[in-house]
């Protein structure tokens, strides 16, 4: 069951040789005088849960919008499975990359099941009729996210944590290889934060997905992610395994405050403690 998705042939190769998602020298600016991303490079390997961290305004959400194809990078290139992102037709990209945007709370009147079925759009024909395979994928996505119970309820009635799981289910119904999430745990309480990250980890371990998540929550990312990418002012300050990235000498300058890093004795993973000056 565990890590069943790693190809036995490529698993022993050096990881850097086969990046699934390769970001190379990407720059972007909404206005010419204020670049948001500057010469940004990192890799995400297949079958990993990667998390982008960084202070407010470091360009995390913009980067995610570029990776999902909503924005075109001003410079540099993004490759997905070896091919340039810009070369994918819009619908073909939608069949490979699922996206859970930050603004998920919208009163639309759709039920949970209808919302999840919307994720089948890249697969359906011109008039949008669903075939049994689409219903199967939607039901499976509901099952994976543990949202089957409210399938017939309106999305607008659900709590924040339930709604977030439904939006993730919609991305799963897309049957993508890569799932991008923008702050999926913002506005959620501790229990639901862990439910969401636990789900993401299961999707990677058991579902064969690759997940790239943007989050503010350093400790949550440290507890669940395989790889961390720390962004600062539009470029990568550090990238690697949690214990490589979460170090006081790296974090303190990025967040511009003293930060202490300790080790969780039970899990062996690092956790950070801010030490504000009184």
């Amino acid at each position: 069951m565990a890590t069943g998705i790693r190809n036995p042939v490529t698993a022993d190769l050096p990881l850097a040789a086969f990046p699934y998602l390769a970001v190379r020298g990407v720059g972007f600016a909404y206005r010419r005088d204020a670049p948001v991303l500057r010469d940004l490079s990192f890799d995400v390997q297949r079958g990993r849960l990667a998390n982008i961290l960084g202070p407010n305004g470091s360009g995390k959400s913009t980067l995610l919008r570029i990776l999902v194809g909503l924005l075109a990078p001003g410079s540099g290139e993004v490759r997905l499975g070896g091919a340039l992102l810009a070369d994918y037709p819009r619908a073909a990209l939608a069949r490979r990359v699922g996206y859970v945007p930050q603004e998920t709370a919208q009163a639309t009147g759709f039920t949970v099941l209808e919302t999840v079925l919307l994720g089948r759009s890249p697969h359906t024909g011109a008039l949008g009729f669903e075939v049994p395979g689409d219903w199967y994928a939607a039901r499976q996505a509901l099952h994976l996210t543990d949202t089957e119970l409210f399938a017939e309820r309106s999305l607008d009635e659900l709590s924040g944590g339930e709604r977030q799981r439904v939006i993730i289910a919609r991305a799963l119904a897309q049957e993508p290889e890569l799932i991008l999430l923008d702050e999926p745990t913002a506005f959620l309480d501790i229990k639901h934060q862990h439910t969401i990250y636990g789900l993401l980890r299961r999707l990677v371990r058991e579902g064969g997905k690759t997940v790239l998540c943007v989050s503010h929550d350093v400790n949550l990312a440290a507890a669940y992610a395989d790889d961390l990418i720390l962004m600062d002012h539009g470029h990568v300050a550090a990238a690697g395994k949690p214990e490589e990235v979460l170090r006081a000498e790296i974090l303190s300058p990025v967040y511009e405050m003293p930060i202490e890093v300790r080790k969780d004795k039970t899990t062996g993973r690092p956790y950070v403690m801010p030490r504000p000056q009184a």
Partner: protein, 332 residues
């Protein structure tokens, strides 16, 4: 709302049901709209009346379907439940175009001038109400108000410069009226063809309407080219609005009332709403026009049908503003 899968069979069944309802209402309107046919002295007179009623029913159907479709499309793509060709000023722009065509050219250019007026208005509204590609909901409605005010003033200016005889005509026409005095069957056929084409086109865009209604980023990530969808839809909605105004003047609120009644009845899925809006809009305006013909028996004059739709539409607008809109904006 509707857990059944949408298949070709259920799709065609629902289209058939809506078309059947529309056909029945048309039949009733032709047979029973106004004077009693069996009291007519001659066969020729009966045929004349039937032809004139058939013309009115066709005009009402085409205009109702066009406005209902345009309203549905504006609401989906502007993500604003109160968007409607009349409220946004698109009908007003088309009306100014049509009136100018009557003053400067001849009647032949009316639909063309209507298109231009409608499309220019859509361009203006979109340019003013959007900020960084996002459309502010309240700004959109305020823009509609001032654009309407401008067109009202411009039409008043033209009105005060033309002869007093035409003046009365324009005032009546501006309320949105289906007149059977000078039937123009070829114009009905042209506008009808355009509306049917728009209905079929929108049926293929309905999948995209659903996704844009949920969110523009979501739609983009699910494979929709949002900007292109918006351009195509706005041009099509502008064309049918302009054409319908050339046919029957600016009839208000049809595009607001019909899609919302359907949403309440059958949920938010645009794949079902597009064909339903087409036939329900047609049915609705045939009924409204029938009501004006029955009112003729009361006062001796037929009131313009736009009077009825506006009197029904304004309370409906207030209801949407207070109840439905509030819910939508709170959650946002």
């Amino acid at each position: 709302m509707n857990p059944r899968p949408l298949t070709l069979r259920s799709y065609l069944q629902s289209i058939g049901a809506w078309a059947g309802l529309w056909a029945c209402v048309c039949l009733v309107a032709v047979l029973f709209g106004g004077e009693r046919l069996w009291t007519m002295p001659s066969r020729e007179q009966v045929m004349d009346i039937l032809a004139s009623r058939l013309y009115a029913v066709l005009v009402a159907s085409v205009v109702g379907a066009a406005l209902s479709l345009a309203g549905l499309a504006f609401q989906a793509l502007l993500r604003n439940p109160l968007a409607d060709p009349f409220v946004l000023g698109v009908s007003g722009g088309a009306a100014l175009g049509v009136i100018l065509s009557g003053v400067f050219v001849t009647v032949i250019g009316a639909p063309l001038f209507g298109f231009v007026g409608a499309l220019v208005t859509i361009g203006v509204i979109y340019a003013v109400a959007q900020r960084r590609g996002r459309i502010e909901p309240y700004t959109l409605l305020l823009t509609g108000i001032v654009v309407n005010a401008f067109y009202a003033a411009a039409i008043m200016l033209v009105n005060s410069l033309v002869s007093p005889v035409r003046r009365a005509d324009i005032a009546y026409w501006m309320m949105g009226a289906i007149s059977t005095l000078n039937p123009d069957w070829s114009l009905v056929a042209m506008v009808g063809g355009l509306t049917i084409a728009a209905g079929i086109g929108f049926a293929f865009l309905a999948k995209g309407f659903n996704l844009v209604a949920v969110g523009e980023d979501t739609a983009g990530a699910l494979g929709v080219r949002v900007e292109r969808l918006r351009l195509v839809t706005f041009v099509a909605a502008g064309l049918v609005t302009g054409a319908s105004v050339a046919l029957a003047g600016p009839i208000g609120f049809v595009g607001l009332i019909c899609p919302h009644i359907l949403r309440m009845a059958m949920g938010p899925d645009h794949r079902r709403l597009v064909p339903a809006s087409f036939f329900f809009g047609a049915t609705f305006l045939v009924l409204a026009d029938l009501a004006t013909r029955l009112l003729e028996g009361v006062g001796g004059q037929t009131p313009p049908v736009g009077v009825l739709t506006a009197m029904a539409g304004v309370p409906f607008f207030i209801y949407l503003l207070r109840v439905r809109w509030r819910r939508a904006s709170e959650i946002r």
